[in-house]
Assembly symmetry: C2
């Protein structure tokens, strides 16, 4: 019996150990799985981030530029003669570089100028207030400083709400408050206020200049050029979307393989970029005006006009959005109607697209296009044709003979529809086609709006007539990609320096 | 002769003096005019700024809050026991308040958390790198510090391009770079690095906490609430625009006095606010998630859903934009057609507007509306009526008897149009009406899109069914203005503290 008990105990113990083992194994397995999960997530995150940089290598370059600027400014600490000159105030140069160095040259210059102006203005005011307060006696000193601090800080904070100041001097107002506080309050405790202010101002100026030099010389990224690329790129996207949408509707599902479907889907939805780029355009235009002349853009290039062009493009894109909505709605049109309208509608689409593309080319070449007027006239006459086709419609519905004539005009006369169907079509079946046609006519009107804003730009920026430019060396520019253009610009800047 | 010469000289002299006088007077006059011009401009600027504040008094309040926070933090300098505690490091508390204090509580909390996390993380890393470098010997110290600075600064700068980090931790990444630089570089020159880091961290935390307290307690401006007011207000604007646009088109120029014209013009263009508020909505949604529960919104309120609602509203608004464009185009419809479609189209417009308004009310009350389903059904059936009216159209054009029946149905049957005109209308004259009708049907579809996104919100945020809420005290909230609501919330918060 005792032996039996022992055996039983041993078995129990074995089971327990095995249970413990499975528990351990489970815990270890779980931890491995968790670690692997976290590692996988991290790996995906890093991969995504890496792709972000590979897609636009200028991001990598910007990071290296920040590293270079910080390494240069840290020489103030490492190099003894420099450190002896400014001492602990070198901190302000480092701080300036970190805070002021931005992605585009325009943003860097804007912040730099703001920082220098804000600091010096507030510095003088702070020293003045401190001087007045110190004359007023020990009792009143903190009161005078405190009240002036409260009032000036409130006023400067309020100024940041005013749109014109917000657009240009928002950062400057913040720096003004910061410096005024530091100077006027520190003055209460620090004795050599003027020395301190002088050193700080000096180091801030050094940091600012370093930032501007690194930002402008090493592969500069100009906000103005980015804006230019964005707007002209959006023009192309809009043109592609427009043409693609009309062609899809009237051609039906001709291209059926998946690959080309994906491509055309991407093209079709390009107009969404136009609709969503308002904020970026405005930010870029605000920054671009701080930039010196670069490439073919001079200092006073009318960047605000690009925002107007963007607005007119958005107006056109929202019409296109409605058009695509109508096309995707349940209410389908009869195939026959579509075939009748096909040729002329596609002409309107193609003509408007080519007007938009010509505008983009005009902007890229910075020339007054000689073709644009002709293209606009062609677009309008196509729209007029569409209108007259619509006006002839009741006859078209009732008289098959007339219809045959029209079909002949559309070049691809299909004959697989029974002739009887042409006699009468209820309005419900033509609603969609009529809507599409009428939205196309509206889109033509809005494309003219874009043409107007671009013509204003060409006047403001003194675009040259095409022929004179062709004789110069500028024209090949239009054929190179934005990135190449940036390279060229950088090379030119580097040669200049 | 001599006398004659003298007289002549005197006259010459007098002329000269008079010339001098006129020159002087002109210069003085010019200067006066210039001064007056500048003063006038300045006056206009100040007046405009003042109006900006009067229109939204919370801006004034924010400025006063900044003043209060700065005055409080400056006690570190004025009050001797405090100054003895932290010394010159008080500067960091002041700096924190200036840099971190933002208009909305969400932005302040976001920056505060970012600043504290970025500072502490970089502080530890910086001290670690400094420790390693100091062990490596004097020769290698600057190299190790410099290389680590370059790598970490570049990496942190790159992280600011990654969308998820940019949306939440952009400021933190900048502060990380700043602190790491200051700590690791200063370590090369400053002996008591740990003490310095400790004091700085301490003052930054004090400044941050002060900011949060002032921002949240004194009349807080919640980003979430602002987003809520923006989206619900935009819903109302969209509804008004839609109804106003349809009514204007079909009613023609009935209201002719200038005052009401201006009002309706403003109402008509309200949808433009919807189109242009994308950036604001996204910024607010990003900030709102940092905020604690306030008013009826808890901490994890689904703010991202408001961005989705905004997107569906924009899709509807862009269709409305196309509709308004078509209405304003040259291609006018015949009056008769308009009269035939009038009643049913206006019904569609009114029904969609009331659906949008009901959505807004739902969101304001945070309830699941019992009426919404009925209203959506009514809207859809009105759209269906419009579709069937269109489908019956060929008969309508050719048969006056049927037309009379329709007119009777529209309640206001006008009889001033010659009956002969009703016999046949070319398609050109009905294009506009057909387009308007078909865009209205598309708008109805997009309004359903808004309803869907709002229903998602009501699921995510656990909106209560209407009846249960009516018995509670919440329901009167819907009738008060946003400003009053803010007051109430502030009062509640104040009572809490």
């Amino acid at each position: 019996m005792a032996c039996g008990k022992e055996v039983a105990k041993e078995i129990e113990w074995r089971i327990k150990v095995e249970e413990d083992d499975t528990l351990k194994r489970r815990v270890v397995g779980f931890m491995w799985a968790a670690t692997a999960g976290v590692a996988l997530k991290l790996w995906k995150f890093v991969k995504k981030a890496w792709e972000l940089g590979v897609n636009d290598p200028r991001k990598f370059i910007h990071c290296l530029k920040v590293g270079v600027a910080l390494s240069l400014v840290s020489l103030f600490y490492y190099w003894k003669p420099l450190y002896d000159g400014v001492g602990g105030n070198a901190m302000w140069a480092v701080m300036t570089v970190v805070v002021v160095f931005e992605y585009t040259a325009g943003a860097t210059i804007c912040k730099t100028v703001n920082r220098m102006c804000g600091t010096s203005l507030a510095g003088f005011l702070g020293i003045g207030v401190h001087w007045v307060a110190s004359r007023a006696g020990e009792q009143y000193e903190p009161i005078i400083i405190g009240v002036s601090l409260f009032l000036l800080a409130s006023a400067a904070t309020f100024s940041r709400f005013i749109p014109t100041i917000k657009a240009r001097f928002d950062y400057g107002a913040m720096i003004f408050i910061l410096t005024f506080c530091l100077v006027s309050i520190s003055g209460y405790r620090v004795d050599e206020l003027l020395d301190m202010a002088q050193y700080r101002m000096f180091t801030i100026i050094i940091g600012s200049i370093l930032c501007i030099i690194v930002s402008v010389i090493i592969r500069p990224i100009w906000a103005g050029f980015e804006l230019f690329v964005l707007v002209t790129g959006n023009l192309d996207k809009l043109a592609n979307s427009l043409q693609c949408c009309v062609a899809r509707y009237f051609d039906g599902s001709e291209a059926s393989d998946e690959e080309s479907d994906k491509v055309s889907e991407k093209e079709l939805l390009g107009y969404k970029c136009v609709l969503s780029s308002k904020a970026t355009e405005e930010a870029m235009a605000n920054l671009a005006r701080w930039e010196p002349g670069h490439g073919r853009f001079n200092f006073r290039h009318p960047w605000r006009q690009y925002v107007k062009i963007g607005a007119s493009m958005r107006s056109c894109a929202s019409c296109l959005d409605a058009l695509i909505g109508c096309i995707n709605s349940d209410n389908k049109a009869s195939d026959e109607m579509k075939k009748n309208m096909r040729s002329i509608s596609m002409k309107v689409g193609a003509k408007s697209a080519s007007v938009i593309r010509e505008i983009a080319t005009t902007m890229r070449n910075m020339t007054k296009s000689s073709k644009l007027d002709i293209l606009v006239t062609e677009m309008n006459s196509a729209a007029q044709d569409l209108r007259s086709l619509l006006s002839s419609y009741p006859n078209l519905v009732n008289a098959p003979s007339h219809n045959a004539k029209r079909s002949a005009q559309t070049e691809t006369a299909p004959s697989d529809i029974p002739q009887a169907a042409k006699v009468e079509i209820p309005l419900l079946q033509i609603i969609q086609v009529v809507t599409v046609a009428s939205l196309l006519i509206e889109i033509v009107a809005r494309v003219e709006g874009i043409v107007e804003t671009v013509e204003e730009l060409s006047d403001l920026a003194n675009f040259q007539p095409e022929k004179r430019v062709k004789s110069k060396q500028h024209s090949p520019d239009s054929k190179i990609s934005p990135d190449q253009q940036i390279d060229e610009e950088t090379d030119r800047t580097l040669q200049m320096v």
